[in-house]
Amino acid sequence: MSLLTITFALLFYLATAVLIGGVAYKIYIYSSTPVPLKIPTMPAPMTTTGVVMRMGREVVLFESLFKSNKWIWIFGWMFHFGLLLVLLRHLRYFTQPVWGWVVLIQPFGRYAAFVMIAGLLGLWARRILVDRVRYISTPSDHLMLALLLGIGLSGVAMSFFSHVDIIDVKMFMLGLMMFHWQELPPEPILLVHLSLVALLMIVFPISKLLHAPGVFFSPTRNQVDDSREVRHVADWAVHFDQ
């Protein structure tokens, strides 16, 4: 077993633990923090089904963003759905035999990377060119885009230019999952790709990427508009009733 393989194996265990543990911890914090008041914003659904539909539209279509800014919406949507397809395509490295629908989306997934990269470039361009967005940007906002672009570009490089032996990569990944380690091919471009992915996983729970779990906990979006029909009191506010 090479030192390289051991390093990457440990790195991925660490990254996975941080990602899962960190996000689980954050979800625990969000869900255990009380919501003392009803604060849904329009269009506020009056039933739970309505809330589920609304959340669905927010997550799949970015409905509110569509209302507010068409450029951010189009770039943001390209990036996220490119990313989603790419991630789904990656399932083939983690499953044996590969699920049928994962096989089906392979050809689309291959090009989704370009959509994702184009979206990221568009978002970055706005960050640099629009004075309002430039003003609010922190270095981490730029680095996050750089990180995702780095992942996308190194991935595209492997799949279209310097082909890496994906069978070996798959063996490595399956080996990690089975706790039966296999050698990782020492391709520089692959190592760059994997390092960046591990970094992304590690920063996920301590960065703005928390918007992904966060959106589901946003009271203005997930509350049912039924304040007159149901009394809603947080535990810490009950004593006021005495």
Binding site: V35, K67, Y135, T138
Partner: protein
Amino acid sequence: MAASKFEVPELKGYTTIPLLQKGASANIKSFLANEKIQEDLGFPGELVEDWHDKAIEKMGELLGKYRGLRVFMDACVHCGACTDKCHYYLGTRDPKNMPVARQDLMRQVYRRYFTFAGKFFPKLVGARDLTREVLDDWYSYYYQCSECRRCSVYCPYGIDTAEVTMAGREILDSVGMGQKYTNEILGKVHRIGNNLGLPGPALVDTLEGLEEDIEADTGFAVKLPIDVKGAEVLLITPSADFFSEPHVESLIGYAKVFHAAGISWTLSSMSSEAGNFGMFIGNYEQMHKVALRIRQAALELGVKRIVVGECGHAWRVAYSFWNTLIGVGAGADDPFAKMLQKQLDPRYPQPAHICEVTYDLLQQGAIKMDKEANDHRIITFHDSCNVARGSNMGGIPGGQFILPREIIKSVANHFYDMAPETVFEGTFCCGGGGGLLTDDLMELRVKGAMPRMNALKSVVDTHQVNFMATICAICKAQFTKVLPYYEFEMSMVGGVHQLVSSAIRLDPNK
């Protein structure tokens, strides 16, 4: 036009996104509350010595009590979608009035003290220590937000800057930096029962005077009853309705509606205020204490229904919070709330907005209108922010947009909406809400009104609109002051029930 010390924006009939101009409104600061005002509310009289630690401690407390704040601090991706949505940014060009930047004033501190990244890599994530400079910025810019929630509608995660502003004000109050305007008024409600500090006897006098005026005007003895035990309806209305113009015209309108429909009703001298400034400072305890007067009045008078007059933030507190705070509503299983809910008539929404009452009566044919009485008016409707953003009417989706418009159309012949992006859920705030309706913020109020004034100008130019109806006491007061800066007549603004008042038939035989 009123002479002003600042430049009044020029109206084009539509609003464009300005380039930012750093520090453009840094000089705008509302007066601090003095020791007396602060201490009356139980807040420190002046900035406490250990304000830094106290503020951070308070912030931790709020993060633990309000999930919204917690999620909003983490979730923002700095996408920028909200940056052009605030009327104060559009009007002042100050980048700190962009909703995300306003949040960032707190988020920077949150990151520094409460997150891993901010503790170890502050520069990278834009985290900052809580310095005196930051605290002063909080005071300036959390009192340049009207808590109108327009930004929340447009944020992909619904991040509600109003919640952040409220938390900011709550922290400031807790270390001794309160705002004179809001906190002084809260003191008055606690002492006297309404925001204006109008004592019971004066109120009774005013109402008697109004009854005489109405009778002289119409020949009908329309009553404005107060403290009547056993009345069907308790009307809770903003105290401005009692004697400010044009507010009082709407009060007369409500009285005529009750009169024509034969509904017995009453005001309360002990609880003569719908507005709840406790919400403005994000203080649950204050909000609760102010609301309790309404519960007490309802119980003492034994009323069956509670109806709320034309007031935006008040309707938000009533519709969204009263059930939580004082049990006005339905569906409770605790003794505190059940006691009141048993008394209230379940066939009506509790609380009900006066527009819901009037609309229902119109639907039933229980009141009749002579539309021609409003023919001299060409009307538009300004959706008040706190109603529009989430305080329903009529129990139908978007009812708070539909009901007032339907009422206007039933009482008048000429109605035109303003540009779609400036009404309904995307409405622009009048510029004076959320505790900013004070003369020391006149510059901000005038500039913040610009997007609404632009939309108004457009319908004035195309349809010769001469009346902007609204259902909020703050909107009415703000526009009365601000319209002249933009060379409009101040009498252009008025209430929906002012229109009802002109058109309603009082003679039961006709």
